[in-house]
Structures are given as structure tokens and as C-alpha cells.
Amino acid sequence: DQQVKQNSPSLSVQEGRISILNCDYTNSMFDYFLWYKKYPAEGPTFLISISSIKDKNEDGRFTVFLNKSAKHLSLHIVPSQPGDSAVYFCAAIDFGNEKLTFGTGTRLTIIP
């Protein structure tokens, strides 16, 4: 049972345009959501997060939106840059069991 889903395995976006990566979840007990970025041959690195009590968090070019009623979050990158090409994982945690649940990842390719 996949509690965190990323339904788009890949996404291609022109440089300078907006990239939107989506994530859906089924567990209403999740308290906190995170996005990780992964380059080939490297470990995932933390990108941005949001608490379940908020609906938006912004950090530079990266904004995460949370829609609790729809159990949906999205990561917006604007403007997209070639260095943003990577695999992006969303993750969620229920503070009751203290373990992250990851989505399957979306490979983002920024086209110069």
C-alpha cells in the first residue's frame, strides 16, 4: 500500500519556465512533509518542507503547497535552471511513528 504517491515518473521543462512536481498521500495522520532532491551517484539532499498546519512554504525559487483536504502537495520551481535536473522525492512523516515514508520519485529534466 503506497501511502505517498508521485504519479509522474518523469517531467521535462524548458529552462526559465515553471516546474511543478506533484505528490499525493493517503494517510491523514501525516504531520510534516518534505521534498528531497537526488543527483545521480549521490544521496538525497533535503530541499524544502512544510508542516501540516500550513498551506505554503517558500524558499527562494522553491515553493511547496499543501492541500490537506485533497491530500495533495506540490513543489514549484521558478524559474527552472539546468542544475535543477534531478530526481525529486516527496516524503511524509507521522510524528507518532517517527519514520519517513517516501514517494517513488519524479525525474525532472530541464531543457536548455
Binding site: Q6, P9, Y32, L34, Y36, A41, E42, G43, P44, T45, F46, S49, F89, A91, I93, F95, E98, K99, L100, F102, G103, T104, G105
Partner: protein, 111 residues
Amino acid sequence: IAGITQAPTSQILAAGRRMTLRCTQDMRHNAMYWYRQDLGLGLRLIHYSNTAGTTGKGEVPDGYSVSRANTDDFPLTLASAVPSQTSVYFCASSGQGARQFFGPGTRLTVL
């Protein structure tokens, strides 16, 4: 500051052999984790440790064991490797809060 180191970087292993993947962190984090990454399946938790001396099972623990003798080290052992354990393995740690820090990974091929 190294953060988290993993060894080896990659390994090719014959089925049936025993293998230990090493993980060391220098951030004094209490919690540590082992994940495997497989195409189309994302990152799946194998085992975890909330503090030195304790361990717990994750989503896919079968065929793996861990130990946590001290805060810094969290080795993962495959007692008798099978081809389905071919994967990329990531160790991670966390202090206060949900954010986890990952090592660079070990690419394991079991033939």
C-alpha cells in the same frame, strides 16, 4: 565535516555470500536508518535505530540485520545475499526533527 560516510561505494557479490555495508556519521544524531532505492519503488526503509542499543524493522527487513553498538556506526548485514537484494543502499541519520541526512550510497549487485 564529513556528515555520513558509507563503504564500500559499490560491490559485486556472489549469491549466498555474506556482506556488511558500513555507515558512520559524525553529527551525533540519535536516529539512523537504512533504505534501499529501486527503480519505480522509491526509497524503502529496511531497518532503523532510534538510539544506540536499539533497532527496529522497517518496511522491507527480510534478509537484512543491523546493529547499533554506538552512536556513530550503523552497519547493515546481508547474511546470505540473493539477486533480489541488488539495489542502491542509503544510510541516513536524523537529530531533532523530521529532516534526515543521507550518505552517498552503496551500489550492490548480487549475481
